[in-house]
Symmetry: D2
Subunit: 343 residues, 4 copies
């Protein structure tokens, strides 16, 4: 049995831990051999592979990124995409595929299996934690730790200068990183994409915080939007050096608006890619490792068209198709729960 492995989409701490676990268990317990494909589905389209064996996965557990490289290439938007994938698999004598990725990568795996009969097992990866079929995805805990540490650091600066500090964190469609790091870091306002925000309300919290002689930290997910969304688009639009209209981040826009409305100095920190790089947290290494062990076990069982998922403390298998069907967003109740700390 020869198994192909690929990683797709944005990079995420824990990818290497999955790869290592798949290979260790596959080789030792099942005597499988492996082929690693370069840069996600692109590697399968172009037949670009790397050897994947026990020496190749030594020492990669604590390393961020992915030794296989990644891309956002989608074979279904390419000419003869599926045929070329099938050709590569035949040529390489690969019997099954493990695809590690987010909604897009797993969506491709679901169709390759469902519509074309290619034996695929999926491993969910999204730093935003927004896949509904699993309690958590690896990478999320690392991102939350990094954002929380940044908030910890910003508290002292906020207070020494009595300034508003706005921290923009990742989360285009779901506010999990903002919610968890905001709660863990003791933020005074948390803004998420799931709930349009009201500038007057925010300025109320900010002012009330200053009243008690403390300075406020505002955590905002990059995808958060004001009640009147057009406002941002219009105000933040500015010509960049190429003469194109450019939309600057919500964090910077928010700081300016707070400054204008409250008269208090405000500053922004955009954490950006720092949140998704570097060594994974212990939780993410543990989760990624267990995902890897259970993915190769699914291959062994011939249980294709499935994705591994965390439920409580158990790893289960769910249908690949359903797995990516629905975005897991922050519920109104969970956001309400956090509001006791606002202001």
């Amino acid at each position: 049995m020869r198994v192909g492995v690929l990683t797709g989409g944005g990079d995420c701490p824990g990818l290497n831990a999955v790869i290592r676990a798949v290979v260790r268990k596959g080789v030792q317990d099942y005597a499988y051999t492996f082929t690693g494909y370069r840069d996600g589905w692109r590697g399968l389209l172009h037949g670009r592979s790397v050897p994947l064996n026990i020496p190749a996965v030594r020492g990669i557990l604590p390393r961020g990124g992915t030794v296989l490289g990644s891309s956002r290439t989608n074979p279904f938007t390419q000419d003869d995409g599926v045929a070329r994938i099938r050709e590569t698999l035949t040529k390489d004598e690969v019997d099954a595929l493990i695809a590690i990725g987010g909604e897009d990568t797993l969506g491709v795996a679901a169709r390759l299996h469902g519509e074309h009969g290619i034996p695929c097992v999926g491993v969910p990866k999204t730093i935003d934690n927004d896949l509904s079929a699993t309690d958590y995805t690896f990478g999320f805990d690392t991102a939350v730790n990094i954002a929380t540490e940044a908030i910890d650091r910003l508290h002292t600066t906020a207070e020494s200068h009595m300034r508003v500090l706005v921290v923009e964190v990742m989360g285009r469609h779901a506010g999990w990183i903002a919610l968890h790091s905001g709660l863990a870091g003791g933020a005074n306002v948390i803004l998420i994409p799931e709930q349009r925000f009201d500038l007057d309300e925010i300025c109320g919290w900010v002012t009330s915080r200053f009243t008690s002689s403390y300075a406020p930290i505002v955590v905002v997910a990059e995808g958060a939007m004001p009640r009147d969304g057009d406002l941002v688009l219009k105000d933040a639009a500015a010509q960049d050096s190429f003469g194109h209209v450019r939309l600057s981040g919500v964090g910077e826009w928010l700081a300016k608006e707070i400054e204008r409305r409250t008269g208090k100095e405000a500053r922004t920190t955009v954490l950006g890619h720092v949140q998704r790089g570097g060594t994974p947290s212990a939780f993410d290494r543990w989760l990624a490792t267990r995902f890897g062990l259970h993915a190769i076990a699914a291959v062994r069982d011939g249980d294709f068209g499935k994705m591994v998922a965390l439920r409580g403390t158990d790893i289960v298998r769910v249908d690949l198709g359903e797995a990516t069907a629905r975005l897991k967003t922050v519920s109104a109740a969970r956001y309400e729960e956090a509001k006791v700390f606002f202001g």
Copy 2:
């Protein structure tokens, strides 16, 4: 409504986050007042309390330890223990108690409620993660992070000198910290209290690791024992400076035995109290905060005799009596899962 709050047992990162969340929500949403009792049940026996209000909980979220102090005092082993507690509660006009602690502390709360009708709500705390009613307890993730970081650091020393490095971590009755940090840190042997270990097998893994030109890391829970348990007791017994027989740790004993049997140099690191001190991880702050919010909500609902618990990503209420009835240990299947990385 006035609510008493106490923390009992060994300290654990996240205790202050619980206290803060209880008080913030209690004051703001329910207009409750609070009394903090010093040093666990001892404070109730002796009527030693501290004021607990919003200023008192400011800034404590990221701080380890407990601002209320702790002890292992059990009122049921004291003369008139229950009567004295009742007296304190009456004098202080306290209507309900929130007890944050482990098996012992919660066991007392269960009896005070069940046998004596004192309205109690429990919040589980055990750094060892060995309470069966909840997926996780706060403090555990912090301890696993610290142990994992230590293992990361030890890898380079092991390899530069081709030595065996034994790391003794917490876990007297359950091997969760050893299992999680061992998996996350890429240990080559993990030993837990749930499974008696075999020295020959360990030496086999150690030797096989050296064969592939790498040096082994052995993670051992403080409560792990060899197949022939008497062996440890006899060998490790040594007179201390007071002339008493003293049992040194399993880590040091193990290093000596491995050295003797394999001829390879072996060294021990005992992480000790470092694992339970300092600022909580983001996960632990988040979990402790949510436990606090839900505990005070249970008080509000008059839902006494309950303990808050994590199930998946939800906080639920379970019966205090059942909550502490059974130790949550590492199952044979979970330990077996990890063994693919041994050697």
Copy 3:
């Protein structure tokens, strides 16, 4: 003897460590009493003080920011500034002042001592490390550690996606943070204010890095400028939401230019205030503590008009006037030394 203490300018990890050391030694060894002034020189102008004794400095060693608050108020630009300061000192019966701050704060102390005979001792503070009289200032090591950790994290993202990552760090007039964190983090280009940069040269390094199948990290100090400086001003100017012209950061400008010229995707991370907040590194706590001990010893010796400074591993006293006379910038030789790692 009563000694006044104040902190001025931007906040910096280690300020509290200085305050603690001054008070501990002053009280215990010399039986002095202390008055803390709020928000730098502003506190002296308005007679706003806080008690400063051993209980007040307990536990502040590891905390960032300053318990005394800070401001950029300059008494020489205020009506009757010096007279009001003298009045406050007389009213409070303060015999000497310890001023902890950067160029501005220490410049005021130098004039108050030199021109008005007020007994002052200075403690240098600049996160940018640009004071010529001392080998290092506290806060710098912490900032370099934070920037280096961010660069470490960005390497994996850069390589997984083959992107250029630009990291903008602090340093308006001196490139010490960029130089040290760039060297420590293994950056492929380091740009500092002392040396105008050449976009073509940068693009050459970037391209050469990609040629060897790696992705480049560019570290740029916020004050770095291209050979043709006007270019930045013109291009980056954009109207903000108030209609004012607003200069966006050099980091973002650089990423766009690199993208445009090399055709490679480029992203920017602006570390901002995260670099100056939070707990000080061990080196900064040690340096700040020793500065504090030696500042109060200078007061004891009646050695006013002096600033404490680090020379090798010794703390010495230098003239306050000279201390701030010259900016310590990165020499051409030191920058040249780092260039072997470019590209």
Copy 4:
């Protein structure tokens, strides 16, 4: 020109950074080639080498340990040691040697150069920072950071349980790690090898600390000794499992003595190898990198028999013979300076 490189003695964060800098500058600026010798002088005795070029040093900057391996082998205690080294150098066509190590390794280099005319340049390495010719050695700052973080964590446990916590840190002959981490961590007692300690005095500080309702942290270097040194030897001697007399650490002995004399519970943490492993701090990477650049420049200049050293912020060259002649210990004045924080 072909240059040999070796690392000797105990491992130390920063060794890889030196190797990388030597090779980068040697190849790029001088067109040199390199031979890496395995396991210190042992590699030269047995002719065991590894290729050392730019690909070989990629990515090693942030990694602890040494890619060349290490040993404590001394060629002067081996039969024909010098002749065999000369033979290896001739066979490999190596024109000069860079030896990175501590007193022993550099002592060998000094004799090889001075007595046998072999062109050697030394780079100082000692985690204990006890070489007199240089202000700092790399590895020291990392060790101090790790010890300080541990002390930070232990404070909360000490206070929550009102216990004495003894932390044993590295330092057999010099107390630098204890002094710096003790000052940075806010320890209440610091004990170093340079000053015999008095148990009564220690117990006085411990008791005074409890009086002010805080719990004491005692930092002790592994080489610290009581006034009556024999006391430790006698008391701590205990038969190990092989029947040999075994000397347990000073930390554990101290905890027992404090417990016995003050009646307060005391616990010990022995940090051990964790202090010397893992990724180097930013300072150590910067220092190690600059040492490497200057060592290869010395080779270029034909300036053999020299060691690079840090003086203030400059790298200088000192005579190899003198460099290791004297141990740099903590002076009485520097220890006295720290005492204001005791108790």
